[in-house]
């Protein structure tokens, strides 16, 4: 069975038929996606499936990864944080490393990129490569996965010079879009329902995971799955748990996160989290390897409620994952979480640890609400946030870019 047929089992055949029709005018086109890591983080997860699906639709698609040294990742992590609003300038020496690394990668990738019909550059790390391609043939699109709604201006100004010559950019939400001299498409990301992280699991595997991490499946569990990153507010999650535990003494908290090769800050945040959790055996802080997809899946299914109490969030794919598993989500009132968590329907939006604690207590005292919201959450994800919808929008964008700026394109 082909991959597309596998997806038809989840989404329905009409969705796949539509993808085939949209891909027809793009048959034979060459597409290259470029990012900075093959493992860890939402972008790599999306590309792992998006690339073979595009290939199966007859589009010649490749995925390339740039390489760099520690200074480069320090710089790009700083850029990432600055785009999310951290007011920390980047020194000239780091910016020089950024430019040199981009130029070096541009040379290495020249055979793949020079003649490609479409090049998708993901996030700021490889964005500087475009200026080394004055003779490029195809359309270059910058895909920004970050909440850039309130960027630190000096860093954005620096990045702007590299990004503005692109043919188009893609942001996850309108609020993230910035002033740029080209079309700015809005495409929310997605999850893969067939991946190890989202596929159905049997109860034995879920209970084995609970046993492995000494979590009691008979007592209520709340979980936050995310990188150990200050913008995810893991310490705020512990505060919310502590407030709720005064009323629900059996409550357990799991804070589980993987590392990503392009995130040098994670270790420091993990130490802060471990310090806050010290002394409470019901708080489980788990640093999972990047390939612990099935364990993450099991932990989300083990939870009554999933938290994503971010202060800033690009989109929040962990929210999507939890909703796909039929769990209500208590999420920070920010970024893409707002697009997914609909108050009183699929979960609750909160602004403080106190707000999160209140909603945890509310849901644990009304288990029928957990079931009802979980059902709605899964349907909402099925209709809007699966990879097939994401792929459809990429295909639509490519057809639109090939056919000019008109707001209506009729294919014959």
């Amino acid at each position: 069975m082909s991959m597309l047929e596998d997806y038809a089992q989840v989404t329905g055949g009409e969705v796949i038929a539509q993808l085939r029709q949209l891909a027809r005018p793009l048959a034979g086109a060459s597409v290259v996606h470029v990012n900075s890591t093959r493992i860890g983080g939402g972008v790599a997860e999306i590309l792992t499936k998006l690339v073979p699906l595009m290939q199966e639709l007859g589009i010649d698609t490749r995925w390339e990864v740039i390489t760099g040294e520690g200074d480069f990742y320090e710089c790009t992590k700083g850029m990432h944080n600055a785009l999310q609003g951290n007011r920390i300038p980047l020194g000239d020496s780091l910016l020089r490393v950024y430019e040199e690394t981009n130029s070096r990668n541009a040379e290495t990738l020249r055979p793949a990129l020079k003649d490609a019909d479409f090049v998708f550059i993901h996030d700021p790390q490889p964005a500087g490569m475009l200026r080394d391609y004055p003779d490029r043939k195809g359309k270059w699109v910058w895909r920004c996965h970050i909440d850039a709604s309130h960027p630190y201006r000096p860093v954005w100004k620096y990045l702007h010079q590299f990004v503005s010559p692109y043919d188009a950019s893609i942001f996850s939400l309108a609020a993230f879009a910035q002033e740029l001299p080209h079309p700015q498409y809005l495409i929310p990301p997605s999850i893969d329902p067939l991946s190890e992280k989202n596929a159905e699991l049997d109860s034995t595997e879920i209970h084995d995971t609970a046993r492995k991490y000494r979590i009691d499946p008979q007592r209520p569990v709340v979980v936050q799955i995310s990188r150990f990153d200050r913008f995810k507010d893991p310490v705020g999650v512990i505060q919310a748990y502590q407030l709720a535990k005064q009323f629900v003494p059996a409550l357990q908290l799991v804070l589980a996160g993987g590392g990503a090769t392009d995130d040098p800050e994670g270790e420091a945040v993990l130490s802060e989290v471990q310090a806050s959790a010290r002394g409470d055996p019901d708080i489980h802080v788990l640093l999972l390897p990047p390939d612990a997809h099935r364990e993450i899946n099991a932990l989300q299914r083990l939870a009554e409620i999933v938290l994503q109490k971010s202060i800033r969030e690009g989109f929040g794919l962990t929210v999507t994952e939890a909703m796909w598993k039929g769990r209500p989500v208590i999420g920070g009132d920010t970024g893409g979480i707002r697009l997914q968590v609909i108050n009183h329907h699929t979960g609750f939006l909160v602004n403080t640890p106190e707000g999160a604690a209140l909603r945890i207590r509310y849901l644990l005292h009304q288990p029928e609400k957990i079931d009802e919201m979980g059902r709605k959450a899964r349907l909402f994800v099925r209709d809007n946030f699966l990879i097939t919808r994401h792929l459809r929008e990429y295909l639509t964008l490519m057809v639109a870019l090939r056919n000019g700026a008109s707001d209506r394109i009729e294919l014959t």
Binding site: D383, T396, A400, I409
Partner: protein, 225 residues
């Protein structure tokens, strides 16, 4: 859909996909929102009333257009939100008339509650527009009776194209099914009237598909008896 030789053409089933674009225009105050509404491309007004139906969104919406939703969630004025929500876009001859009516409602409300002019929204409003790509599915209906069995199999985006988007394309602002049926003279006038009674504004696209499928099935079943 009348051919030059008087033969009625078959009905081409089309489908569409839509991708949204940021316009770059954002508002944080009602007065600013009003000025931007004045100059925003009509494609954006279309998107916020109709186009969004093909975008990721929760189906149980409190308000059926984005302007009304923002007035409530951003400006927190339930009166204006209700008035904007009551606008039925299908009842306006074109988007410019709809735009004038929205601005009129805002002006009226600002006259009633002057402080709203200076009220800062708790969420900004982002004006969005969209590009639509239309493609032929290759499927054809030769006779109107085939509508009874084929509608249930259409994608929701195909329903959007033929029943909602058509109102922008057809000369008298009707849906594609009615337009096709008109090519058969008076034979399907009753069915056209029934279609005119379907309000696409208050249902999700899948509910709309179910409603149309039921309408066609009932009509053709009754006409056989």
């Amino acid at each position: 859909m009348q051919a030059a030789d008087g033969e009625t053409k078959s009905f081409s089933i089309k489908d569409c996909a839509l991708v949204a674009l940021a316009t770059g225009k954002k508002s944080r105050m009602l007065q600013e929102f009003r000025s931007q509404l004045f100059s925003i491309d009509s494609a954006s007004i279309y998107h916020h009333f109709w186009g969004g139906l093909l975008q990721p969104r929760f189906e149980e919406r409190e308000y059926n257009n984005d302007f009304a939703a923002w007035i409530w969630h951003g400006i927190h004025d339930p009166v204006l939100a209700e008035r904007l929500a009551a606008l039925a876009p299908a009842g306006f001859p074109d988007l410019e008339t709809l735009r004038r009516e929205i601005i009129e409602l805002i002006d009226t409300r600002m006259d009633e509650m002057e402080h709203l002019i200076w009220e800062r929204a708790t969420r900004q409003f982002e004006f969005i527009c969209s590009q639509i790509v239309v493609f032929d599915t290759g499927k054809r209906l030769e006779r109107p009776a085939e509508l009874a069995t084929s509608i249930a199999d259409l994608t929701t985006s195909s329903i959007f194209y033929h029943f909602i988007d058509a109102r922008r394309r057809t000369s008298d602002g009707r849906d594609d099914f009615s337009d096709w049926l008109a090519g058969f003279g008076n034979e399907f006038v009753t069915l056209q009237k029934q279609l005119a009674g379907v309000d696409p504004y208050f249902s999700s696209l899948s509910e709309l598909r179910d409603e149309l499928a039921l309408l066609f099935a009932s009509y053709f079943q009754a006409s056989r008896q």
